[in-house]
């Protein structure tokens, strides 16, 4: 990881938040490039370890949306 480049993992439920991110793109809304959407079948699938592992890897932020 370089110091100046932020990375944020956004865990998104495919039924709502992932679709919302699709729509945001369709509407050409702009957001920081740091955000990397990871699709989940349901935010219920988000294991707290998954979030912690991300920080362990050096990810700067974790976002959960669903």
């Amino acid at each position: 990881m370089t110091e100046d480049k932020l990375q944020v993992v956004a865990y998104c439920c495919e039924h709502c938040a992932y679709a919302a991110a699709d729509l945001a793109g369709g509407l050409r809304m702009q957001y920081p490039p740091a955000i990397k959407v990871v699709q989940l079948p349901c935010t219920g699938k988000l294991d707290v370890l998954m979030a912690l592992q991300a920080f362990e890897e050096g990810i700067d932020g974790v976002m959960v949306a669903g």
């Binding site: 509407l27 702009q30 990397k36 959407v37």
Partner: protein
């Protein structure tokens, strides 16, 4: 990849004619149509879903949220849209209308009309490049006119099909009037946007002489311009000239030589406009072309007939040079006398395009051979060719055409001091335009109107004057047979001139040819002569009068020659022509009135100063400035909507645009029809008192819905249309277009949607004041009452019972002032920033006409009439009606009806299940276990959607270097048909065992690519997508490097996961094709019958000793077609007689276990005996009961009764009371609205009035909730004298029964207390769940809501499903409902159950949770967290440390959400396809990019792309 599966073996073997058609037509692609289509297709029928618009989705797709859960409407409908679009057995026919249906149930013939979409749905990939370049904007109706869209458009971003469409009304009148079909509206639209280069391209599509026609065309287009009658035609010709001049001034693009793709040579004789146009077209087609011209210059009459001050020679030469630049060979000074010889010389075809004869015709006047008499044509030719010519000082020109004026103005420029033009008719009747006459006059030329030359006077053989005479009215024929105007006797005079220039008609002839061609026959249509290969455009038969006509002829002959050379028939098949569209005077007047057209005269080009005109041949008209041209172009009314500028055609990389599409008729055969054409919202401008359409801040609720939507025109910000400001106070006016003089019904949804919109607006802007003005709050269904209370208590929405009769606008602030009376009678004026009209539902004229065409019975409003005991079938058997087409209703009720209609249709054609359906066919799966990953990466350009914002080639190159990747490439459109096949081929050829596509969203495109790799034998789970469009190119469109970099990261993450993907397999679990129906009331019986009629055996369990349930207590209904008890009797005997229904009376279900497709239940009979039944689906229709509580003294006095008891008493006819007080909303009705009580009370009140008209009935109520057509009962009751008194929570009625019965109440209108002494008090007791509802729910493991009714899986879209698969509900156990509503819901439950029962097997496995027993501690965490109640601890399994019992998850019903996997403390559960390792790999790949060498040979990028 699909094949028809033959009729299932072992099924019915019925002879073809008697077997119904196994297909269903569903009309209307809204939520009801979608639901019906899915339910039918899922149970083995072919479905044709017909939608008039370009995409399905209907009104629901326009909504922001849905009540009462405030769920996002689009999130709910979108998966259904995708499923419908991808369903193998649903054909979606968009842009299509049903014209006719003939035949009868089981075998209907359907005629459809498919309207042209101008974009091929099968080719369009939805990239939107067409819309990006489209110059035409129009109000976006999906956004209810609050935003604009392009003529090339997609209905909304999530639309299915995703293909774009082009809105075109037809051919614009300007194009229609042009002989060459010039797309004037197209280039005008581009000029309006400043896109001049493209405008020139459009012009040259139809016309190789833009410079010439921009100056000298007779422009019939302008004469037909829709704008002409209002404030003058658009200056089409001037605009054309502007484009050419602009290109000339700022650098036009050189014309590239046309590619010679064909061996043939064509000779053209004559280099006039027709010949050169033909040469141009043929050269572009790839032929070799030589043009022969007798004169020393090319151009024909354009060159020699038009003086330079109107058409400068250089301008003409520009057009000619562009044609020659294509590779056309020009041979001047080469007269051809024998065109046939050219054929012998080796030309494959010859075209004679010789135009106007150079010979002079006689004027027919005495003295015309004197010296000084000239023909205008010769005169102009000599001038134009630079030959010497002299004229005298005084010149008379005879004739009123353009040539006469040209000759006169040339004579003036040559120095003649006096020039006269003799016009034999008044100005208005002349061939020359008024403007041209005026221009000539301005140059000092005298116009002699109504004057004709009689003879030419001469002296010494020289002209000495002309004897003239005035013309009178009418014409006569002279001795030589010429038509001449009549002369006014005695009007003769002599004009003193020394030169006479005569104009007579100019003709095209072929006299210059060899004599043998004198009688050459030519076909007028094909332009082919008798000599094969020789074509003629010229001569008397096929000549042209105007340049643009010559151009048109040139196009025609080129087409004919091409057909000849290709060996095709010369006669072109007749193609249907699109309509010509022009605005009527009335439409124009309305547009002016609405301010859509702002009157503005045409722009006038500047002219050369007068002093320079008559002294030179400089061009007189100077052309429009850029600013003038842009303004003039914006005057175009865009008659055709689509301008046919072809910008989309050039932009489309998928070759999907076809502007020549025309409407087509199609035929279908179906066995049944479901009509779900939906509603239209009331046109609020008809209620003039509210000023909609005049006051900008008065909007409709549907518009407000769009304002609230995050994807709407304001991105979800509530804004005032007038100034974009945030409103502070909003008023909702209810019942606009409902419950009024012209609508005797309630639209049933407006109270709740207004409440929803009020809540949502408050969520967006918490400081908003919202005030709803209504008559009654119709919160009549599940969860509505508490939603209404929440709006008041939590959000502070204010409700006032008052119907607003008018409002006015403050013109300074655009605020709106409401004048109203509050509930205490006080008159108030209140100011609002915005007013929302809660518009009701109507049937559109087109739906009404559809109903009439199909011959189904409609009511006066166009609603489809059905009967109460067969509520979904129209008057025409086999045709069903659902949704608001029957009666205004909400989404869940429409969905229920859709499923119900699916069951009814299936009952008719059940024998033909799976006869017309297809199943996917794939090759056997390849074994990839144990292989190292070999990943192929396909990076999509998506036209310009991705490649326009990031470096696609660089991403592919980067991917190629990543671990496990053996191949990476880019595709223009990865999802186009050829790319899909290409991916399949690449998988096979390169031995790929994992595939990553970097393109758009997996939500819409993943299944497509999965099929593509499956076709190559790969398991579909070996696929991963990187969404580099929606998540990258579109959101980082301003920074190429950032977007490219992020795309690489997304691809890297996808590849990392792909390497760990494993094949997943499903297994087939057999289905027990029997249903269990619990409850023998009308719901249970209807469901059982419906399933049995479809061929599924049913166990019907009823706890009482007879069938019938609550219907046994109903004696009258709101419609009196059949007495309810007769219907009940019939229903019971049908059920008892049906061989497939086993009725279990006095029985209950003691136990039930299993899962969808494989349940086992124990039925305990009256004598305690038990039987076990196996069933694939369960329907719970256990009903509910009338509340019997102590409120209002019930149970203390025989005169205080419930509605059910009152109805029974009325039916018996004993002791009919003279006066009755009814009290609504008793007891538990404080918590929820029991939906049916108002209707039942009115029904009984009317029944009493029918028996005893003088009886006094007073109804004490809170709101009268007669939704839909039930409103008519309310109206009728008031007409019959029933008295209605409202009470509120502070003033509840009181009943005392001390001897006399007394009811005390408070009348809010009179503001005083009332005391009534009726004979009887009737309490509207709400319907409440049975006492054992909780036990039943526990038995079947289904949830209840707070009021004890069954809780459906989803309030809006799964209204009869439980969240547990395979278990369904119907009737009052779900919520109180009326008889027809219960019957419909029961049919719906049957349809949902039939989806399961019609399958032989169900798929189990795939993306499901799997327990590793050896790690399981049996802690029950999974059992508790599963939202579907699926995991259980099985005692026969062994867990960690050999403990007895471990978790088990039935793969057949696991929904794959992964909640259990996330929560399992022992880590014993993995969700397949989302394993911990796969998820971790993504994050690791993001955080720790690999670095390494890029082996270039792994990259395959198309040539010409940058590396």
């Amino acid at each position: 990849m699909t094949s028809k599966n033959p009729a299932k073996e072992g099924g019915h073997t019925i002879d073809a004619p008697s077997r119904p058609v196994g297909a269903v037509l569903v009309v209307g692609g809204g939520i009801a149509g979608i639901q019906a289509a899915l339910d039918l297709a899922d149970q083995g029928f072919k479905v044709h879903l017909v939608e008039k618009k370009s995409a399905i989705g209907g009104h629901m797709a326009q909504l922001d949220k849905t009540f009462p859960t405030n769920d996002c409407a689009m999130c709910n409908i979108s998966p259904k849209l995708v499923n419908t679009g991808r369903h193998l057995n649903i054909d979606i026919h968009t842009d299509t209308e049903v014209l006719d249906i003939n035949g009868e149930a089981g075998n209907f013939g359907v005629t459809l009309r498919r309207n042209p979409r101008y974009i091929d749905v099968t080719k369009c990939v939805g990239c939107g490049d067409c819309a990006a370049v489209c110059p035409v904007s129009l109000p976006d109706l999906y956004e209810e006119g609050l935003a604009d869209r392009k003529a090339a458009y997609r209905l909304y971003s999530q639309a299915v099909p995703a293909a774009y469409a082009i809105e075109k009304r037809g051919v614009a009148p300007c194009r229609d009037a042009c002989p060459a079909g010039q797309r004037a509206q197209g280039y005008i639209a581009l000029i309006a946007e400043g896109r001049y280069k493209e405008a020139l391209r459009v012009i040259k599509e139809d016309n190789p002489f833009p410079s010439v026609c921009g100056r000298t065309c007779h422009h019939p287009c302008e004469g037909h311009c829709s704008r002409a009658p209002i404030d003058g035609a658009v200056g089409i010709m001037s605009l054309k000239r502007f484009v050419v001049d602009f290109a000339e001034a700022y650098g036009r693009e050189p014309v590239e030589p046309a590619a010679r793709t064909r061996p043939e040579w064509v000779a053209i004789v004559g280099a006039g406009p027709a010949g050169l146009t033909a040469a141009h077209d043929l050269a572009k087609m790839g032929y070799g072309v030589t043009v022969y011209e007798a004169l020393p210059v090319a151009g024909g009459m354009m060159r020699v007939g038009i003086p330079a001050h109107r058409l400068p020679k250089g301008v003409l030469q520009q057009d000619i040079d562009d044609i020659l630049a294509l590779g056309v060979v020009l041979k001047t000074n080469t007269p051809i006398e024998d065109p046939a010889a050219l054929l012998d010389e080796g030309y494959d075809a010859v075209c004679l395009a010789t135009g106007i004869s150079s010979r002079d015709h006689s004027l027919g006047l005495e003295g015309e051979d004197s010296e000084g008499v000239l023909s205008a044509a010769t005169f102009l030719r000599k001038i134009n060719l630079g030959e010497p010519i002299t004229t005298g000082d005084r010149v008379a020109v005879i004739g009123g055409g353009i040539t006469a004026l040209d000759a006169a103005s040339v004579a003036r420029r040559l120095g003649a001091s006096e020039v006269y033009v003799a016009l034999d008719r008044p100005r208005g009747e002349l061939p020359a335009y008024q403007k041209e006459i005026e221009a000539a006059e301005a140059e000092g030329i005298h116009m002699l109107e109504r004057t004709t030359a009689m003879r030419i006077l001469s002296e010494n053989g020289k002209v000495a004057g002309v004897e003239m005479a005035e013309t009178g009215k009418g014409m006569e024929v002279d001795e030589q047979g010429r038509r001449r105007p009549k002369i006014k006797p005695g009007s003769e005079f002599t004009l003193d001139v020394d030169t006479v220039i005569g104009t007579v008609g100019q003709f095209s002839d072929l006299n210059f040819l060899d004599e043998r061609f004198d009688d050459l026959g030519v076909d007028k249509n094909t332009l082919a002569s008798e000599i094969p290969g020789l074509f003629v455009i010229g001569g008397r038969k096929t000549g042209a009068s105007f340049i643009i006509e010559a151009v048109a002829l040139g196009h025609r002959v080129a087409t004919s020659i091409h057909r000849h050379l290709q060996g095709e028939a010369l006669e072109q098949p007749e193609a249907p022509a699109p309509p010509v569209v022009k605005f009527s005077r009335q439409e124009l007047a309305e547009k002016v009135k609405r301010g859509e057209i702002i009157l503005q005269p045409p722009a006038e080009p500047a002219l050369l100063p007068m002093e320079e005109r008559v002294t030179s041949f400089r061009e007189v008209v100077l052309g429009l400035t850029e600013r003038q041209a842009r303004a003039e172009a914006q005057r175009c009314l865009q008659c055709g909507i689509c301008a046919e500028c072809l910008a989309c055609e050039y932009a489309c990389g998928a070759d999907a645009i076809d502007h020549n599409m025309v409407e087509q008729e199609e035929q279908l055969q179906v066995g049944a029809v479901v009509l779900a054409p939906g509603f239209q919202v009331y046109h609020a401008e008809l209620s003039e008192e509210y000023g909609y359409g005049r006051y900008p801040n008065v909007i409709t609720a549907l518009q407000f819905e769009r304002l609230l939507s995050a994807s709407g025109p304001t991105m979800g910000h509530v804004q005032r249309p007038s100034d974009g400001g945030t409103p502070k106070r909003i008023a909702f006016l209810q019942c606009v277009g409902s419950r009024d003089q012209s609508h005797d019904y309630c639209s049933a949804v407006c109270c709740m949607y207004a409440t929803k919109e009020a809540i949502m607006a408050k969520e967006h802007e918490p400081d908003l004041d919202i005030h709803v003005f209504m008559m009654d709050m119709r919160a009549f269904s599940k969860g509505y009452w508490s939603y209404y209370e929440r709006a008041q208590d939590k959000y502070g929405v204010q409700y006032t019972r008052c119907r607003i009769s008018t409002l006015h606008e403050d013109p300074n602030s655009d605020d709106l002032i409401l004048h109203y009376q509050d509930e205490t009678g006080a008159l108030l004026d209140e100011r609002f920033d915005m007013v929302v009209l809660s518009v009701g539902m109507e049937i559109s004229e087109s739906v009404r006409q559809l109903g009439q065409r199909l011959g189904v019975e409609l009511d006066e409003y166009g609603f489809c009439h059905t009967v109460q005991f067969n509520p979904l079938e129209t008057s025409r058997p086999g045709i069903y009606a659902v949704g608001p087409f029957r009666e205004p209703k909400d989404i869940p009720e429409s969905v229920v009806e859709a499923s119900g209609a699916a069951a009814a249709a299936a009952g008719r054609i059940g024998a033909s299940r799976f006869t017309l359906t297809t199943v996917p066919e794939f090759p056997p799966e390849l074994e990839v276990g144990g292989q190292d990953p070999r990943i192929g990466v396909f990076v999509c350009h998506c036209g310009s959607n991705i490649a326009g914002f990031l470096d696609v080639a660089e991403v592919a190159e980067y991917a190629a270097a990543l671990p496990n990747v053996v191949h990476a490439e880019t595709n223009l459109y990865s999802c186009s048909q050829d790319s899909i096949e290409h991916i399949t081929e690449q998988v096979a050829e390169l031995g790929l065992n994992r595939v990553v596509v970097a393109s758009c969203t997996p939500l819409t495109h993943q299944p497509l690519f999965q099929d593509s790799i499956r076709a190559a034998g790969l398991n579909p789970y070996l696929f991963e997508m990187a969404n580099i469009r929606n998540q990258c190119s579109w959101v980082h469109s301003d920074d190429w490097d950032v977007a490219t970099d992020k795309a690489k990261e997304l691809v890297r993450m996808a590849i990392a996961r792909a390497a760990l993907l494993e094949p997943q397999h499903t297994v087939d679990v057999p289905v027990e094709k029997t249903a269990l129906v619990v409850g023998g009331g009308v719901g249970g019986m209807t469901a059982a019958l419906s399933l049995a009629e479809q061929g599924f055996p049913v166990h019907l369990v009823e706890k009482q000793d007879e069938l019938g349930g609550n219907l046994r207590h109903v004696y009258t209904t709101t419609e009196s077609e059949k007495p309810p008890q007769a219907v009940l009797g019939q229903l019971v005997s049908q059920v008892q007689a049906h061989p497939d229904i086993s009725v279990h009376l006095e029985s209950t279900v003691a136990d039930s276990s299993g899962f969808m497709g494989n349940f086992k239940s124990t039925i305990r009979g009256a004598n305690g005996g038990q039987i076990e039944v196996s069933h694939g689906a369960t329907i719970l229709a256990t009903g509910a009961q009338e509340y019997r509580g102590p409120e209002y003294g019930y149970g203390t006095d025989a005169r205080i009764v419930t509605q059910q008891e009152f109805e029974e008493a009325l039916s018996e006819g004993n002791d009919i009371p003279d006066s009755v007080v009814m009290i609504q909303c008793v007891g538990p009705a404080d918590q929820f609205c029991s939906r049916i009580c108002c209707t039942v009370a009115l029904k009984n009140a009317l029944a009493l009035k029918a028996i005893k008209p003088e009886a006094e009935v007073t109804i004490l109520f809170r709101d009268i909730r007669t939704y839909g057509f039930k409103e008519r009962l309310y109206t009728e009751a008031r007409e019959k004298g029933v008295i209605f008194v409202r009470y509120d929570d502070e003033h509840r009625p009181e009943v005392s029964a001390n001897g006399t019965l007394e009811v005390r109440a408070w009348d809010p209108t009179l503001q005083q207390a009332l005391a009534l002494e009726p004979d009887m008090v009737v309490l509207s007791m709400p319907v409440v769940p049975h006492d054992d509802a909780h036990d039943l729910a526990a038995l079947f493991k289904v949830p209840l809501d707070a009021d004890g009714f069954f809780l459906e899986a989803h309030v809006k879209l799964r209204p009869v499903d439980f969240s547990s698969d395979g278990v369904f509900m119907a009737g009052m156990a779900h919520y109180p409902k009326l008889l027809d509503e219960t019957m419909i819901q029961a049919q719906a439950a049957a349809a949902r159950a039939a989806r399961v029962l019609s399958q032989d097997t169900l798929k189990a496995g795939g993306q499901v949770a799997v327990v590793d027993e050896a790690l399981c501690t049996g802690c029950l965490t999974c059992v508790r967290v599963c939202p579907f109640g699926i995991p259980l601890i099985k005692p026969d399994l062994t867990g960690v440390g050999n403990i007895v019992g471990a978790a088990f998850i039935e793969a057949a019903v696991c929904q794959g959400c992964g909640s259990c996997a996330a929560e399992c403390p022992a880590g014993a559960i993995q969700l397949m396809h989302y394993t911990d390792a796969q998820m971790a790999a993504k994050v690791h790949a993001l955080a720790s990019p690999p670095s390494g060498f890029v082996p270039l040979e792994k990259v395959s990028v198309p040539e010409g792309e940058t590396r």
